[in-house]
Amino acid sequence: MPADRPSQILPPAGREEHLFAVALLFPCFAFVGLFAFYPILSSVYLSLHRIILGLPGLAQPFVLFDNYRQLLGDPVARHALGNTLLFVFVTTACEMVLGLVIALVINRSFRGRGMVRAAVLIPWAIPTVVASQMWRFLANDHYGFLNYLLFGSDLPAYRAWLADPFWAMLMIMAADIWKTSAFAALIILAGLQTIPDELHEAARLDGASAWQRFWRITLPLIRPAILIALLFRTMDAFRVFDLVFVMTQGGPADGTNVLQFYGYKKMFAEGLMGYGAAVSVLVFAVVLAVSLLYLKFIGRDILKEGSR
């Protein structure tokens, strides 16, 4: 039993409280059990077989870890893993920083704040597939707005942004940062708004500078919000798919091939269901590892009970 601060006022937890808790939690777990846990187990089961849809004559033998063994030796998968890790760390870092800045800005009271809030949410409100098409259009080497912005009418100077593996990856990251900074901003904003003004007032009266107030009051109090944003953003970034699907299809030369896209191609396009499932389990494993690291170093107390 985790250490409780026993309430002096209320009677100890009775059956009624337990039943109530179960009633509150049960629907969640019903949904999650059927539509999330069962499918992932089914997927893990699939990954232990060799399944080639185009060759049903080969049956679907149980091969235990063969798919995983093959995966470890697969250079394309290694490359995809590298691309994915790069994508995750760069976009998450940028989005957290930008999200924090944006949240701090729109938390202040100023004229037109509502408009700025709405403007910040627009990138995020555009469906990802549309935004990806838009960025692909923007990055075009002849009629793309990006080139026009940078080089005006100087046509020979125009670059083919998506033609080079390095720049293509950069464009994908830029598109994602543009689109999803609002996510972190929103969560951090909600955290900021629970900080009472009096705390800041008192500190200011005591002579604390803006930076000191930020560092010693604001930041610690929004730590839970930052952690939630960081955690969920990281998990989403590992599973990036729509952007790559629309903007580059993994190219050029697999330069933007990310794990989930690779898994998709194997499963849905090539019909290698077992191998594709193994790739997706790999994604899950990597995300799990990274999340555990986060929780261990940043949010040890988040999971347990404990109020301020």
Binding site: P27, Y38, V130, Y143
Partner: protein
């Protein structure tokens, strides 16, 4: 010093505005061009003001229909997730249950599952239930996928609230449910609205499951509808731009409405002190 601060702040705001809006503004400009102007080399900044793309998006491409479906699916998903997260969050934050880390952790796990591994089995389950090409066929997976975020946000919020209010209510004889609805929920407004926006936009944006599950036009949502604008060898940039512009406006209005509520929810005196 004050003046410099103010200027710096203004510049920051302008920078944020520009960065957020400029790609979208380009799209809006594109939507007002003629077909030949869209891929003009070099790009033309000032459009000719043609509304042909808007007409096409509405009539030939049936934009309003897709938007309606998206609103229904996203709306019900949001309601469902909020409902369930509210209860679950309260339970996890306040009630004395065992194994809280396990529960929170297993919910978190759900957000780590890659879509491609869940999609197939979910499709099969929905097929068995006869829920393919129905609204609930998409709503239920969306609720499932947004529950972790919703629960974590709600739990975080509820935990920040001071216990004294609840204890007072309980001492007065309120049941758990009454306490929940009368005291906690109003105070958790910022969390509720934040979660609501996050879930709504997730459902609004979601493409992969929508593509797999809604294969018939009457039920397709906006992202799928717009993705289907594409012909075999043509990408109708103009129509896509017009459709995106039209689709974003209601969302912006919705957000403007919500964000004022968030601010109001704050000033409830009960939080402070």
């Amino acid at each position: 010093m004050r003046g410099l601060h103010r200027l710096g702040f203004l510049l920051l705001v302008l920078a944020i505005l520009a960065a957020s809006l400029f790609p979208f503004l380009w799209f809006v400009l594109t939507s007002l061009k003629t077909q030949v102007e869209v891929t003009a080399i070099p790009p033309r900044l000032v459009p000719s003001g043609s509304l042909a793309f808007y007409r096409a998006a509405l009539q030939e491409y049936n934009l309003l229909h897709f938007m309606k479906n998206s609103v229904i699916v996203a709306g019900f998903s949001t309601l469902g997730t909020l409902f369930l997260s509210l209860f679950a969050g309260y339970a996890l934050a306040r009630l004395r249950i065992r194994h809280k880390p396990l529960i929170m952790g297993s919910l978190l796990l759900v957000s780590m599952f890659p879509q491609i591994s869940i999609a197939g089995p979910v499709w099969r389950i929905l097929d068995q239930l006869g829920w393919l090409n129905t609204y609930q066929g998409l709503i239920v997976p969306y609720i499932t996928l947004t529950l972790p975020l919703g629960v974590w946000i709600m739990t975080g919020f509820f935990r920040e609230l001071p216990r004294e209010l609840e204890d007072a209510a309980r001492v007065d004889g309120c049941s758990h449910l009454q306490t929940l609805f009368k005291i906690i929920v109003p105070l958790a407004a910022p969390g509720v609205f934040t979660a609501a926006i996050l879930v709504f936009i997730y459902a609004w944006n979601e493409f992969f499951f929508a593509l797999l599950i809604m294969t018939q036009q009457p039920y397709q949502t906006l992202p799928v509808g717009i993705a289907l604008f594409q012909g075999q060898y043509t990408i109708p940039w103009g129509e896509i731009a017009a459709a995106s512009t039209m689709a974003t406006v209601p969302l912006v209005l919705l957000v403007l409405l919500f964000q004022r509520r968030i601010v109001r929810g704050l000033s409830a005196g009960a939080i402070k002190g």
